[in-house]
Every structure is written in structure tokens, then in C-alpha cells.
Symmetry: C2
Subunit: 365 residues, 2 copies
């Protein structure tokens, strides 16, 4: 574990920069301070001349657009949305402990953060380009960033797509502000997409182009990366077409405190953590067990329910002396549950681990 | 098991009438023939004079409406939507076998069916009443049927509500037609709501009134019935406020064939069944195991993917001689999974059983 020189983040990869906050700081605030917001980059942060910057809007649109930042600021209604973003690889470490997942970042439970985002609605820009929600029902909106990397020996930009139905959601923003400040370069300045309820990868940073098209993006990060496969599929048997292109995330919950390294005393123990529902769903409840699932205690929420936002929770359980396992599980507003066993959802690239989160602690009188 | 005199349905309750199709017929067609469509009634079918019938639209609307059937037919755009409806109590039998659930219907796996629905969009009627999607963001749409029953000693009409956001969905219909025919009395004639992706109870039949209001309906079937509780909550500890008002359903899958009573021979066995994702989600894949979950085989879909619609599937697995358990599980487009163990989701009223479905069969050479 390595801390960044410039802030308190735990660095998972230095180049490109990938880092997240220490767990105690992660749950200290319902709104994550910008310096602590997790960073997931696939390439170096691009250098962008904001005066030359244009956002292209093209494809199946009646009126293609080329918008300056001033156009975005002054020609559209500014909107602020609070939203939690979570990397599809959050909690990969638990999956790769069960069976190795080479070539992917070993995120702990810290690849999630919550911020307020300010910008304009993607729908308003699409409407300005002459897209009608009626004829666009089946379309997709492809997104391209200015960050450049390499895949299969060729230079590519990061990209992806979301269904038009989602693009017309009132919550999807072209954001130029974060937590009341101008967006920082590492978070996608001057402009990024924010797609609440979806895996973080669809919230394309350093956004340069929006293309309306009949099919999902053919960008590597839509067609190959960020695809889910059943547990029995390995690299050799993987058929890219048969994978699920990830979009909405499922319900998850995590114990952030106590830390497993702590020595604990028997008796009443306080646990804290977060829970997050995907799509437009809400966390219905969070439950804790300290006795291998025989009994469960309902946690209390310590922040208010808000659309597109995580819930922070606190619970007290009695722990006896010995090696104990603390477990958390949550249910969402569509009655979705978390899988008890990590092997039920293990997958070759280690995405979307939402198994019951378990922390082993040592309790000594 | 009792068959209805007039058709092939298995009757779970004669009065009020509650019945569903035999499983072999259920999966014989992607579109369930109307005579086989499951019936969930809470009261006798009301007698309605179609010439006197009016739909009231009131509450927080700029222009209250009183619409005749002719108004609905000729003043709004007719729309047809294919949608699967499923009772929240589907598969309760498995839950009540684990621990009794008195006072609720013991549905097997047949309280689900698929039809095409014709009518007008609820959103079009709400727009006509002067509701704007913009000011109505937080509101609910309460629905009242003409069917009368009794709860806690008082006569009440069946009712419920859906969030305004869902009410504005293009898929939510005021339906007067089913499978290309006028709606039958037992299915809600002359007019019912159809809320794809939600528990069947919100698709209120014999609809008489639509009320726009700040809060969910205070009807018994919204505030008490159709509420989900964690497994450890019993009738004595149940706090109605702490339950989840059911709306969207979670991913489920069921083995309809082979029937458990059949004698099977060792070797390649064909299984058939259905899978259904809730909300606006899709079934990503369906997997079968005949060896207690050690290996899983991916099923083939036998009907096309369509929004709001179930998938029928077929799979072949090798079975060895002995008492064998066949299991099915599915994953949806938001990476939601089904719980392996029924006790993880057992609840006091027996709703939303989406545990891995298991069929025990005897295999003899």
C-alpha cells in the first residue's frame, strides 16, 4: 500500500494514476472531499487548451453541433446533481484472492466516492442537436474522451456508450463542476459525462465527442473491457459477444470499520460502512451479522436517502472472543439481494463484486 | 390441485378467483393465450355498465378529467405494449414449505404470464390533465379499482400507487385490449393499468380513479399488503413503516419441465422454463446445474429479447441415476443475481421468492 505524495489517497497504480481514499476517510463524509475522490484513469491526463476545446455532437442527429465551453455554460440550463460513482472493479481484491485475475487493478473497497456535479443535462444538448426522444428510442449515445492509450498495438481513445433511454435521464450530466469547484484535470476537466447508477467507466472524462448511433460503441472499453462473464468462463473460452456490456450496477454494501488489523475486545462493537444501489434503485436496508449469518442486525443510516446516492450506515453487534467474521448484506428497492458466496459471481476480469462483504477480526478479552 | 370448469387453469382459490396455467402450457407460447393467463383477484369481479363508466383523474392536476371509454379510445393515441406480469406471491409455495405463511395463496411457479396490451399511455392522460413531468418529479399516482373487499372490518376498494417517474414511462398503459381482443372481465374490463416491470398488484384492474398526490397511496394494498420485510421479522415484530413497498421485481428463473413427478432415465435430459428480469432490466443469461452447483450449463433462449418481457429457455444436461436436484439461476443486465438459499429471503408474507429454483427428480436406468 502506497500513499500519494500530494494527498491522502492509496495509490493502486502510479502511471496511469489510479488511487482511492483510505476507508476511514471514505465514510467520514457523505460528500467525498474532491481530494479524496477515487481516481480511475486508463491513460495519462490529457493536456487540453480550454480555449480551443470543442465538444462535437454528431451521428444520427438533425443538427450536428460543435460547442465551446462558453456555449455549454451560457446556452444551456445549469443543473447540479449529487451522485455516487463506483468503479466496476471495486472490491476486485476479494475476487482475485479467491482466484488470480492478472492484468487488472487490485482495488479494495475504496473505488467509490460521492460528489455533487454541476453542468448541463446531456438530454438538453441532444434536444438542441435535434434528437427527439421519440425517434431515438432504440439508439445509443457513444462517448469519446481525449485520453489516449493503446490496445492490441493500436493507439485508441477511451470511450464507451450508454443507451439513449438513459441519455435522456434528467440525472445524466455533462459536468464542468464538482463539489462546487471547477472540475479538476484528474477528474476529467474541462468536461466529463456523469452517468449516475452506472459503472464509473461510462462517465467518460475529458469528453470530446458524442455520437448518436444505432448500436453500442465499438470502442475497446465497450466491446471488450467492462464485460461480465459467468464464473466458468476463462480467457481461453471467452467469447466476447457472449459477455454482458456492463451498465447499471447491482446492490452492494461494505464494512469500512473496524479495520481487520485492529485488536478488538469482546462486547458491543460498532461497525460502519457504505451501501449503494445501482440504476435508479434505492438501498432498502442493510444488515450485519457477527455469528456466521445465524442472526442479523439492521443497520441505521447516517445520511439521508437521495436519488443516485450511497447510504452510509452504522450498526452495533455483540462479538465474542475468538476469530470472528463480520458480514454485511443489503437489499435494494427492487428486492435485489447480494450473493453470499464470492464464487457465485467470480468472473475472468473481476468486475462487479457485490458478494456479502466479510471482515475477519480477532477478539481478545 | 383443482382445475377450473371453464378452462385449463389450476385454481388456487375459487372465491375470489385465483388461478394459473399448468406449467407445460405456460411455456408452450411466448404470448400466453388469454384463457391461460394467470388470474389474481382480491374480490369478486365487479359488474360494470360500460356506458356509465368514467375514469376520474384528480388530485394535484391542473385540469381534473372524467373520461368515458369513448374518450379514451378516440382522444388519445392507441399503443400496444408486450409485457409479462407476475404476481408478487409467485413461488410462495417454496417459501411456505420452509416455514408456514398463513393467510396467503400458495402459488406455485405459475403466477406469471405474458400478453400484448392495447390502450393509451398513462402519461398521455396525465399530460392532458395538465401534469408536467417537470413539476411532478416527486409525486405519486394513486390508483383505485372498482373491486370491493374488506380489510380490518371495513369495506375497501383495491388500490395502490406508482411513482410519477414510472407513470411517465412510455410502457405504462391504461389498457382496454389484451392479445388483440377486448379486455375480459376477469382481467379488468373495461380498463386496467398495466405497469411492466412491477409486481402485478400495481397493474390495478377495473380502474376507476387516478389521483396525483405527494405520497404513495394510503390504500391497504400499498401500506400493508405487498410489503417486504427481512427474514427475521415475524407478525409480532412487524413494523409496517419499516417494510419495503414493493414495486420493481428482481431477476427470477424457473424450471417448468421436467415435472418432479416424472421418472427419468440417465443421460441427456432436456429442461425448459422461463426467466424474467424486473424494472427495465433484461435477462443476461440463464444457467442450469444437475450436480448441486459444481458445474453450470448456459441455457438457450427460445424467444427473442423484448423490453418488459420474459425469456423462455431450453437446456440439456447430463443426469446420472439416483435422486437428483436440477437447479436454475439467472443474471440480469444490471448484474443482479438470484439468492441460492430460500432462507436468505424468506419473509413473513411470502413475497418475491427469486431463490435458485430447484426440482428434485428420480433418475433410474
Amino acid at each position: 500500500m502506497q500513499f500519494d505524495k500530494h494527498n491522502a489517497l492509496i495509490v493502486r497504480q502510479a502511471e496511469p494514476f489510479n488511487a482511492g481514499p483510505p476507508l476511514a476517510l471514505l465514510i467520514a463524509n457523505s460528500v467525498t472531499p474532491t481530494d479524496l475522490f477515487f481516481v480511475r484513469n486508463h491513460a495519462p491526463v490529457p493536456e487540453i487548451d480550454v480555449n480551443q476545446y470543442h465538444l462535437q455532437v454528431d451521428g444520427n442527429v438533425r443538427k450536428p453541433l460543435s460547442l465551446t465551453l462558453a456555449d455549454l455554460h451560457f446556452k444551456f440550463q445549469p443543473v447540479t446533481v449529487a451522485a455516487t460513482l463506483q468503479c466496476a472493479g471495486n472490491r476486485r481484491q476479494e475476487l482475485s484472492a479467491a482466484q488470480p485475475i492478472p492484468g487488472e487493478l487490485r482495488w479494495g473497497t475504496e473505488a467509490i466516492s460521492h460528489a455533487t456535479w454541476t453542468g448541463v443535462r446531456l438530454r438538453d444538448v441532444l434536444l438542441e442537436a435535434g434528437v427527439s426522444p421519440d425517434d431515438a428510442w432504440q439508439n445509443h449515445v457513444a462517448l469519446t474522451g481525449l485520453d489516449e492509450t493503446e490496445r492490441e498495438g493500436k493507439p485508441i481513445n477511451f470511450g464507451g456508450s450508454i443507451p439513449m433511454e438513459k441519455a435522456f435521464g434528467r440525472e445524466v450530466l455533462l459536468a464542468y463542476g464538482m463539489n462546487g469547484q471547477p472540475l479538476a484535470p484528474v477528474h476529467g476537466a474541462p468536461l466529463r459525462l456523469v452517468v449516475p447508477g452506472y459503472i464509473g467507466a461510462r462517465s467518460v472524462k475529458w469528453l470530446s465527442r458524442i455520437t448518436v448511433q444505432a448500436n453500442p460503441s465499438d470502442n475497446f472499453f465497450q466491446t471488450h473491457a467492462y464485460k461480465l462473464f459467468p464464473p466458468n468462463i476463462c480467457e481461453e473460452t471467452r467469447n466476447w459477444e457472449a459477455g454482458l456490456m456492463l451498465g447499471e450496477t447491482p446492490i452492494t454494501s461494505v464494512i469500512c470499520s473496524p479495520h481487520p488489523a485492529l485488536r478488538l475486545k469482546p462486547g458491543l462493537l460498532e461497525l460502519q460502512g457504505y451501501a449503494m444501489a445501482g440504476g435508479n434503485r434505492q438501498v432498502a436496508w442493510v444488515e450485519i451479522s457477527a455469528d456466521e449469518g445465524w442472526t442479523w442486525v439492521r443497520a441505521d443510516f447516517t445520511n439521508d436517502a437521495q436519488p443516485w446516492s450511497w447510504r452510509l450506515w452504522r450498526a452495533r453487534v455483540n462479538v465474542k472472543a475468538g476469530q470472528r467474521q463480520l458480514m454485511v448484506r443489503a437489499v435494494d428497492s427492487a428486492a435485489n439481494t447480494q450473493p453470499p458466496d464470492i464464487m457465485q459471481i467470480w468472473n475472468v476480469h473481476g468486475y462487479i463484486n457485490n458478494a456479502w462483504h466479510r471482515v475477519r477480526v480477532e477478539v481478545r478479552p
